[in-house]
């Protein structure tokens, strides 16, 4: 079969010593920047881009790709241990992953995240190898109306999966949407909500919002509690999942892999949307959904599998059509250009050793990540034994350096403090910050696609229900809403009876 011949070419290319070495360097660096909050793969790859001049094209691409998916592994570590989303795709891992850490099951959470990511990553790579061309065609058929409906679904999903009050979660998502609109409007070029500050012209960076609200805000809220009620458990607990854990987790991992693979192909926020979608699906399918948010292993396994699968399949549009679907992929285009490779549909035919070598190297990288991460779980978990009074200054320092290094900007750090205080206020008012973060990321995209869809339909809103893809997504949205109506009533009752 063609696939096996192609994979053989790939293995031959990926398993040379130099390519293996650069793969290892890439995933190690990726894990490191993923673990350190605020530093992300985008900044790292941009910094390393010039260095790749000296490497062969295959070495360069293998290393840079390794940084990207390595960061997805590392990001979950920070989310689980200190409740900070190192990457936008690990926002939802905070919910149950950190709850597990508080119960002394940090090792299990880290273990299942690594194993789930590996399984899903392997499946997604097989999918990339086998079906990238038809999948790319599918992604192409998404029009602006379909994208808008998809994001609306994603946003509502985030609201539904938030803990606590549905209405407040919805309001938080809308607040996030508004914050996302700060900066120059793409269509008109007009500055919005910038108060004349040039530093706001390009919008508020994700790092500023997430480090402010999840980092500083959360730390202030933790500090007012007693040491005895420290958010981190002292127990190290088991390091590896039990048989019961595996029994609970294997289905979510497979479902997450499927969802992530599909959503990862779509341009814009693929890995993040898929982790949110996977969480929602698991919560819906669970027999006892109230465990979610209280440390349900399914809530870690599914999303972690989904975001890693999404990270792998987001290479499909780049490799098959030469079109980058997110900032990291745009940098990969840059890396290919540096070496005189014009990304596009012709690469697969003209440079098969490069194309298949890169794909196989992603699988090899996943193996390396598993080997790298499982032994490290013990070390990471030991971090939890450090008293909080010593840990939080370190977290604050990493947040500061992470934010500062994005633009070397004093303004960004000050803005982070402001969002930290706002975050603290919102936490005290029992408003869930996760939907705000998703709204923040989706806001500009939703507006862009809404405007484009309405422009192309000449102002006719029926386009959202006449396109089959969009209609399907909106019907799913309706179903989700109907399913959670009982919960709305339940929270109302809870509001009456509780404290």
């Amino acid at each position: 079969m063609d696939l096996w011949a192609n994979l053989a070419v790939g293995f031959e290319a990926a398993l040379t010593w130099s390519n293996l070495l650069y793969c290892l360097i890439g995933v190690t660096l990726g894990t490191l920047v993923g673990v350190l909050p605020g530093l992300g793969p985008v900044a790292t790859i941009a910094m390393l881009l010039p260095i790749t001049y000296g490497l062969s094209p295959a070495e360069a691409l293998i290393m840079l790709a390794g940084i990207y998916y390595g960061a997805q592994y590392g990001g979950s570590t920070t989310a689980i241990l200190v409740n900070l989303p190192g990457e936008s795709s690990s926002v939802v891992t905070c919910l149950d992953g950190h709850a597990m850490a508080r119960q002394g099951r940090a090792g299990v959470a880290l273990g299942i995240a690594a194993i789930g990511s590996f399984v899903a990553g392997s499946l997604a790579i097989l999918l990339v190898a086998a079906a990238s061309t038809p999948l790319a065609e599918f992604a192409l058929s998404f029009g602006p109306a379909d994208y808008f409906s998809l994001m609306l679904l994603g946003l509502v999903a985030a609201v539904v999966l938030a803990q606590g009050d549905l209405l407040k979660a919805l309001a938080m998502a809308l607040l996030g949407l508004l914050l996302g609109l700060v900066g120059v409007d793409v269509n008109s070029g007009e500055e919005r909500f910038t108060f004349g500050l040039p530093q706001l012209a390009d919008g508020i960076s994700f790092v500023v919002i997430s480090m402010g609200i999840f980092g500083i805000g959360e730390i202030i809220a933790n500090l007012e509690r007693d040491e005895s009620r420290s958010p981190l458990s002292r127990q190290l607990g088991r390091l590896l999942p039990t048989r019961d854990d595996y029994r609970r987790a294997w289905k979510p991992v497979l479902r997450g892999a499927g969802l992530g693979s599909l959503l990862g192909i779509l341009p814009g926020g693929g890995a993040m949307l898929s982790s949110f979608a996977s969480y929602l699906v698991e919560k819906r399918l669970a027999r006892d959904p109230e465990r979610f948010g209280q440390g349900a292993i399914e809530g870690v396994a599914g999303p972690e599998a989904a975001n890693n699968a999404g990270a792998q399949t987001s290479f499909i549009p780049l490799l098959v059509m030469g079109l980058p679907s997110n900032a990291v992929m745009a940098l990969m285009v840059g890396a290919m250009m540096i070496h005189g490779i014009v990304p596009g549909p012709q690469v697969m035919g003209e440079r098969p050793e490069l194309f298949w070598g890169l794909i196989v190297s992603m699988w090899v990288g996943n193996v390396l990540l598993l080997l790298l991460n499982l032994p490290l779980v013990g070390i990471w978990v030991r971090l939890l034994a450090v008293p909080y009074r010593l840990l939080y200054p370190a977290i604050l320092l990493f947040c500061c350096i992470g934010v500062y290094s994005v633009n070397n900007s004093l303004f960004d750090v000050l803005l982070t403090v402001l969002f930290g205080l706002l975050g603290y206020l919102l936490i005290k008012l029992r408003c869930e910050p996760a939907p705000l973060l998703l709204g923040f990321i989706l806001g500009p995209l939703m507006e862009e696609h809404l405007r484009r869809a309405m422009l192309l339909s000449r102002g006719d809103p029926s386009v959202f229900v006449t396109r089959p893809l969009s209609l399907t997504l909106l019907l799913t949205l309706g179903l989700v809403l109907i399913l959670c109506l009982p919960r709305l009533r339940a929270t109302r009752q809870a509001a009456f009876s509780e404290d």
Binding site: L32, V33, L36, L39, M47, D165, L167, K168, L170, A171, L174, L175, L177, L178, L181, D185, N187, S188, E190, R192, F193, I216, I219, I220, L223, E224, E227, R389, L390, Y392, P393, L396, L397, C400, I401, Y404, S405, N408, L410, V413, L414, T416, V417, L421, Y424, L425, L426, K428, L429, R430, G443, M446, E447, R451, M454, L455, R458, G459, A495, D499
Partner: protein
């Protein structure tokens, strides 16, 4: 550091049953009004060619409505059996943490990473109930070394390490 008193005996008339929700609702309404007022100054355009004010105004309106529902829901017009506890704000952690981070941001470009880290550690350390200065100083030195090694040297970030 004061908590709003709990479970006062209920009287008739307008009551705040859920102070957290009342505050949250008011906060959402305030954001919505501010954002809506600013959006209204931008061109609105038409449904086909939306101006830069169309979408933000739409979102602000929705946010305002939701805020109003959250606020109204927290009120009670009759007798209330139990009144929920209001939020208590801890000023010391908030101020110390904010001061530490601001100090870091102001100092890092001139004094370098090492000294800025020390100041950050000490100021943020004051946020904790039990302040142990010797321990904090030690932590500051360790973090400064770690930060210098990992971020400036290892990852090659453009950060000044020493004063200058």
């Amino acid at each position: 550091m004061s908590a709003v008193a709990t479970s006062r005996t209920a009287r008739g008339g307008l009551q705040i049953r859920e102070p957290r929700d009342a505050l949250a609702g008011a906060l959402f309404i305030a954001f919505a009004l501010a954002a809506g007022a600013i959006s209204a100054t931008y061109p609105l355009g038409s449904a086909m060619r939306m101006g830069s004010g169309y979408f933000p105004l739409l979102v602000s309106t929705l946010l305002g409505l939701l805020g109003a529902v959250v606020l109204l829901r927290s009120l009670s017009f009759g007798r209330v059996e139990r009144r929920a506890e209001g939020p208590a704000f801890a000023l010391r952690p908030a101020l110390c943490v904010a001061a530490g981070v601001v100090a870091f941001a102001l100092l890092v470009s001139d004094l370098g990473l090492l000294l800025a880290t020390l100041v950050l550690t000490l100021l943020c350390g004051l946020a904790h109930r039990q302040v142990r200065f010797a321990e904090l100083a030690g932590l500051g030195v360790v973090l400064a070394c770690f930060g210098g090694l990992v971020f400036a040297w290892g990852l090659g970030l453009q950060l000044p390490v020493l004063p200058g």
